[in-house]
Symmetry: C2
DNA sequence: ACACATATATGTAAATATCATATATTAGTT
DNA sequence: AACTAATATATGATATTTACATATATGTGT
């Protein structure tokens, strides 16, 4: 048995990092936030924490944004203002909106798989209605 | 723009592999199947394809099973029968059931995050009821 | 003898996530 | 003036996870 992780929500311990994370989930979250208004990387942090359920790694965020720009999902321009450090402002593109739409559709399938697991679990482990 | 992937369900294209996959989702699926009855690796393939929504890499499956045994979630014994190749039969352990329970609880949070994204998406892109 | 399905397993590379660190600017404090 | 902290962007190094290919062995049918 190699248990190295202690779960904060239910107190149980298990191997490595938290379970249930969706690969690159931060990307549609970024695109949704940028759909509302352009923003700079640091300014996205708070909204992303809400959407992702935990603090987002800042370094990862910046690297992701550059990658998304390389892939054509966002554009960026430098914003220069008095009494403020230069910020790189990101704007969503049409390709970005297309991917967001796809991601949402794809996550519906993911959602179905999760609920399929839930129903299977309930059948095998009934023990009361609440879980 | 670097689009290298063509989505089979909606026809759109985007970078790298399919979106929406949950890290190590195969593990609770394996544990759920083994909760019903012991099984060998190859015999799990069909059930896992249903639960995971696509074919599971066979090599990955075997490696995952050995890792889960190392972590104490399953046990294995060799089954020897006439007219049949030796099979390694896996059985779920108490630790395995504990992790499955945790995984289900954790996936409920994942589910909430997905639906939070959905509701945010609907607000920004209303366009009709159905999506 | 051959092809094919079953069955288990490993090698290698790519993609992704994590943790640490570097750099620069602004605002407030001692 | 020196310091501390928050803001802001970015990279280096490592670990984890996934994907794809390959190796090996057995049983079944032709």
């Amino acid at each position: 048995m190699i248990f190295t992780y202690m779960c904060q929500s239910c107190g149980c311990s298990f191997r490595s990092r938290d379970f249930g994370t969706i690969e690159r989930f931060v990307e549609p979250c970024i695109l949704l936030l940028l759909s509302k208004e352009p923003a700079h990387g640091y300014g996205l942090l708070e909204g992303l924490e809400t959407h992702c359920g935990e603090k987002v790694d800042v370094g990862d965020l910046y690297r992701t944004l550059r990658r998304m720009e390389r892939d054509g999902w966002v554009n960026s321009t430098w914003e220069r203002k008095e009494n403020q450090r230069d910020r790189r402002i990101y704007t969503i593109t049409e390709e970005g909106r297309a991917f967001l739409k796809h991601a949402v559709a794809s996550l519906r399938q993911t959602d179905e798989l999760i609920h399929h697991l839930f129903s299977g679990y309930r059948k095998v482990y009934p023990e009361g209605k609440a879980l």
